[in-house]
């Protein structure tokens, strides 16, 4: 499948990655994690960055999030180059790891960004209550994260990021640690939220099923060093049903096509 020029598919370009490179020094020699990766993401696109473990997909995401400094190349968000350590205001980030603040209750975690921004308590309270309702966490507002299940915690994480209504959302295998059923639940929750807001999303995963369920486009990375191998369009109609979608023929066809290509990269990763 030829790669589709993303600008043609969606409106203006939100994220532009140009010959991005990242090398680490390990045991005195340089290990290249990401090499010459280039792609663009248009407005409102949901893009999955798919690849085997260790291919540098999280590294790319973290460079966009300004958590890691690139060794070469350029990243632009809305046309402006990003600087390491200077997060862009309207970019939200969801971690793979549970990073909820354990000393804050669910509502205080969700309202954290509003608190930082100095949103008045009354408005904050209303928005937090609405977010908690959307995430299906009614009745848990006063709970501490330690008494919630993994899936619930990740929903709180998601709402903590979404509450400030970021236009661009970076997600680093957010559901990687969840069991299959919880993961499917989370896909439904995320699809429901996204289909209303249509943020621009860059979603890192090694799970092809997840990528197909959620994304409009799948960028397949090669094994280390990570390069863009292929760029697939996922044209399933929306709104999607995370569970029913998996039963369809289109899903199965696209799955097997990408699976083959992904499998080659997994094999390369193993033989290394």
């Amino acid at each position: 499948m030829p790669s589709t020029p993303p600008e043609a598919a969606a409106g203006r370009c939100r994220i532009e990655i140009d010959r991005l490179r990242k090398g680490f020094i390990a045991n005195g020699r340089e290990v290249v994690a990401v090499d010459d990766a280039s792609f663009r993401i248009g407005d409102g696109e949901f893009v999955a960055l798919l690849g085997p473990s260790g291919c540098g997909k999280s590294t790319i995401l973290n460079m966009v999030a300004t958590l890691i400094a690139p060794s070469g190349g350029a990243i632009k968000v809305d046309g402006a180059p990003v600087t390491f350590g200077r997060p862009v205001r309207h970019v939200g980030y969801v971690f793979q790891k549970d990073t909820l603040f354990p000393w804050r209750t669910v509502e205080d975690n969700v309202g954290y960004a509003l608190e930082l921004a100095g949103v008045p308590p009354a408005e904050r309270k209303a928005r937090v209550a609405e977010a908690i309702r959307q995430a299906g966490l009614d009745g848990f507002a006063r709970f501490y994260p330690s008494s919630l299940s993994g899936g619930m915690r990740q929903r709180v994480s998601l709402m903590r990021t979404l509450i400030s209504q970021p236009e661009i959302l970076l997600m680093d295998e957010p559901f990687g640690a969840l069991d299959t059923h919880t993961k499917l639940d989370m896909h439904s929750v995320l699809l429901g939220l996204w289909e209303r807001q249509r943020q621009t999303v860059l979603f890192v995963t090694h799970d092809l099923g997840e990528a197909l369920t959620l994304a409009d486009r799948i960028i397949l990375l090669s094994a280390r060093p990570g390069r863009v191998k292929q760029d697939f369009r996922v044209d399933f109609p929306r709104p999607r049903d995370a569970v029913a979608l998996r039963e369809t023929r289109q899903y199965a066809e696209l799955f097997s096509r990408i699976w083959h290509s992904l499998g080659e990269e997994f094999a390369k990763g193993r033989s290394e």
Binding site: P87, Y93, F95, F101, A113, L116, A117, Y144, S146, S164
Partner: protein, 289 residues
């Protein structure tokens, strides 16, 4: 069932120990191999004598052996006779303990946070901190009494000195081990440097601070008592030294029991405070602290 049996055992052991203490010495001449010399009432007194002494020292019973609350003004007269009576001594000791605790905890926390978050400062001060920490704090008590006099100030300073290092090291460790991902999460959610400090570094370090509160209050009490041993006008420590000088075992024992009760109450209050402040922790961890 198990709880009842535990309780019965506990009561039986307590009563047994008291009985040996009270009557054990009577068998010393007949069974010297069974009853150690240490049980001599000259050293350890007897529960009944200690209780009598407590009633007298606390002015609940007057010299005449009558309850002071039965006669108007008898309690106040008795209190007036001794400048370091049990009530005043307890009050002074507890007040100084509390001040030592509060000043030690707050300054230890501030220092720990400052050095824990600054690699440069901790690098510079490292040898001094290690050196000071190797000094047994109590060894400094005489110097403190010399410098601050025999009033309350020297006791508070001694207690402070004992507490501040304990809290400092806990806070320091805590400040160094703040989860990087929590800091990153806060930054990505729009926190400024100051907001990161206030909303992430301080609360996560607090957990370490709280864990040190329980030993801190015990240490503070130890510091005050040692200070009072060396030189004081009031306080339980002075009361023990005076009773010792007079060879009054019962008087010393009363003071020790008052300290025991005070210690139990203080540490249970601190533990309550601690488990309230750390209520966000998973249940099994909270129970362990």
């Amino acid at each position: 069932m198990r709880r009842v049996s535990t309780l019965l055992w506990q009561i039986a052991i307590g009563l047994g120990a008291l009985a040996i203490w009270e009557w054990g010495w009577a068998f010393h001449d007949r069974l010297p191999w069974l009853v150690p010399d240490l049980l001599d009432p000259y050293f350890v007194s007897k529960p009944s004598a200690i209780f009598q002494q407590f009633l007298a020292m606390s002015c609940l019973v007057g010299r005449d052996g009558a309850w002071t609350f039965a006669t108007d003004g008898a309690f106040a007269r008795c209190m007036g006779k001794s400048e370091n009576n049990l009530w005043i001594a307890t009050y002074v000791t507890l007040r100084n303990t509390l001040w030592g605790f509060l000043t030690g905890v707050s300054s230890g926390f501030a220092l720990g946070l400052l050095l824990g978050r600054s690699d440069r400062l901790s690098e510079i001060f490292y040898p001094y901190i290690t050196a000071f920490n190797s000094i047994p704090r109590i060894a400094l008590a005489p110097i403190i009494i010399l410098a601050f006099g025999i009033g309350d100030a020297s006791k508070v300073v001694t207690a402070w000195l004992v507490v501040v290092f304990l809290v400092f090291f806990n806070t320091f460790e805590g400040a160094r081990s703040v989860d990087r991902d929590h800091i990153n999460a806060a930054r990505l959610l729009g926190a400024s440097e100051w907001q990161v400090t206030r909303t992430v570094i301080v609360p996560s370090t607090m957990a370490w601070l709280f864990a040190s509160l329980s030993p801190a209050i015990s240490f503070s009490l130890i510091g005050v008592i040692v200070g009072e041993f060396i030189g004081a006008e009031h306080g339980i420590g002075r009361m023990i030294i005076e009773a010792e000088a007079r060879g009054e075992a019962a008087g010393m024992m009363v003071a020790v029991f008052v300290l025991m009760v005070a210690g139990v109450i203080l540490s249970s209050l601190v533990r309550r405070l601690q488990s309230y402040l750390l209520r966000w922790r998973p249940a099994q961890t909270a129970a362990g602290t």
